[in-house]
């Protein structure tokens, strides 16, 4: 059970140059239900492409995407999808932004609002629920974007470099915070990142990808039990050893 990609291939054709770019070539990948898996790989290797295929924004040339045994390739609305940009709508207040998913799914508005308010409270965003995105800091907007993703109500989340645009300190803060949220919700998560510490801190499994066409170079099981203590974990010799190996694979 869970999410599995079987023989997934995707090329982009460039009409002007009349050539095609093979991004994914028969990729296999498994994410167990309730686990936190990170994909890490060089820029431009096709990580976002994998996300877009899962999210139903792109259609694979061949291969299957199975979610709990059901083929879902080419369909959308199966995952909570969070891209790197927060993409909060500037004309909506924070609370109306996080409720977009409920609106699209025609869920009952009153109930959704009550639920959203509880979550805003947990995310430390209650005082800002009536603020517009431009009035919020980068970290707050990113938390808002994650809340929008969670409130879409799917048990699997696709996070495509969610903290990539934040400054280093805010990013660390957000990683710790995501860890604490995940401890409570235990979503199945596929996280795309280029931050080695982030991958080790959050994941049960780290998958290292190659240059295009993307293959899996290596998989690391990260054996630390949950809940994790970020400071202790990242400075432990086991974590440092993972870090060394990952660096070696990514910067040969």
């Amino acid at each position: 059970m869970g999410l599995s990609l079987k023989g997934l291939s995707k090329s982009y054709s460039n009409i002007q140059k009349n050539q095609s770019l093979e991004v994914l070539h028969s990729l296999d990948l498994d994410v167990e239900t309730g686990s936190f898996v990170s994909l890490i790989g060089p820029s431009g290797c096709g990580k976002s492409t994998i996300c877009n295929l899962l999210a139903g924004i792109e259609i694979p040339d061949s291969g299957e995407i199975l979610l709990d045994g059901e083929a879902i390739q080419g369909t959308s609305g199966n995952f909570g999808y969070m891209p790197q940009k927060d993409l909060l709508l500037p004309w909506r207040t924070l609370i109306d932004n996080v409720l977009i998913g409920c609106e699209i799914l025609h869920r009952e508005k009153r109930k959704a609002q009550v639920e959203a308010k509880e979550w805003l409270n947990q995310f430390g965003l209650s005082p800002f629920s009536e603020y517009y995105p431009h009035q919020l800091s980068g970290g707050m907007r990113q938390r808002g974007a994650l809340l929008r993703t969670i409130l879409f109500g799917k048990k699997t989340l696709l996070l495509d470099e969610p903290f990539g645009a934040l400054d280093a300190l805010t990013r660390q803060e957000m990683q710790r915070w995501l860890l604490s949220i995940w401890n409570r919700t235990r979503h199945t998560v596929l996280l795309i990142t280029h931050d080695i510490d982030e991958a080790i801190l959050l994941s049960d499994k780290v998958i290292v990808l190659s240059q295009r066409p993307t293959r899996i170079i290596h998989e690391f099981e990260i054996p630390f039990p949950h809940p994790r203590d970020p400071d202790e974990l990242l400075l432990s010799s086991v974590a440092l050893d993972f870090k060394r190996q990952l660096l070696h694979l990514l910067i040969p």
Partner: protein, 234 residues
């Protein structure tokens, strides 16, 4: 003062007092003509906006129809108004209808162009996010495209509002029985230059009024653009 002391004849350049006097003496006449112009501009403006909404909506939702209709949009702007207006007056008479049509032609272009530009997002990521949630075309339209288009729509409305008065006055000037354009030509033909100035001021005031109205509407419709309560943050 400069005018009186420089001995310029009054029919060439009247003094401000003369203009005010002309304004006061013909106030009822001006008011009557203003009402006609107001009627033409408001009707024409409203019709142009309605047409714009329909056609831009259709063009954005269907690229095929856009390819079909876009040339007509350009043509509506390249046809010389000064040549079309007399024809319309010839066919439709001295009444309101030809003026309203001219105002529609003048306003339609800026509103439609800015609306289409706003509806076609430059950033596809927003639409992709909604697509990932399984949103329908219609949902993408009213959740993302429409609100995204509002600032640019209002910018177009501001341009159209000022054009509309000008369009109406020119149309009246080419043949009409009432309206500020008529007052203007009659006054100028009789060398009543003080009245010409009174007309110019009225026309300017009318354009300004429209502009102010649209500005107020913009503030009401786009609260997020004016809400700057950042102080408590960061």
């Amino acid at each position: 003062m400069v005018i009186t002391s420089a001995q310029v004849p009054l029919w060439l350049l009247p003094t401000p007092t003369h203009i005010l006097k002309a304004f006061w003496e013909t106030r009822q006449l001006i008011w009557m003509h203003t009402l006609t112009t107001l009627m033409e501009t408001t009707m024409g403006f409203a019709l142009a906006v309605i047409f714009s909404l329909i056609t831009s909506g259709v063009m954005v939702l269907s690229p095929w129809l856009k390819r079909l209709l876009y040339p007509f949009l350009i043509i509506s702007q390249t046809v010389p108004l000064i040549a079309v207006a007399p024809l319309l007056i010839l066919w439709l008479g001295y009444g309101l209808l030809p003026k309203i049509i001219i105002v529609v032609i003048v306003c339609y272009f800026p509103v439609t162009i800015s609306l289409i530009e706003g509806l076609e997002l430059s950033d596809p990521d927003l639409l992709n996010l909604l697509r990932s949630m399984g949103a329908s075309r219609w949902q993408m339209f009213y959740i993302v495209r429409w609100p995204h288009a509002l600032p640019s729509l209002f910018a177009g409305l501001k341009i159209a509002a000022t054009y509309s008065v000008m369009g109406a006055v020119i149309a009246e000037w080419l043949g009409s029985s009432a309206g500020l354009g008529v007052y203007l030509t009659r006054s100028s033909h009789s060398f009543l230059t003080d009245r010409v100035f009174a007309a110019i001021f009225t026309i300017t005031a009318l354009s300004f009024l429209y502009y102010a109205l649209i500005t107020i509407l913009t503030r009401l419709a786009l609260p997020w653009m004016h809400n700057k309560k950042r102080d408590s943050l960061e």
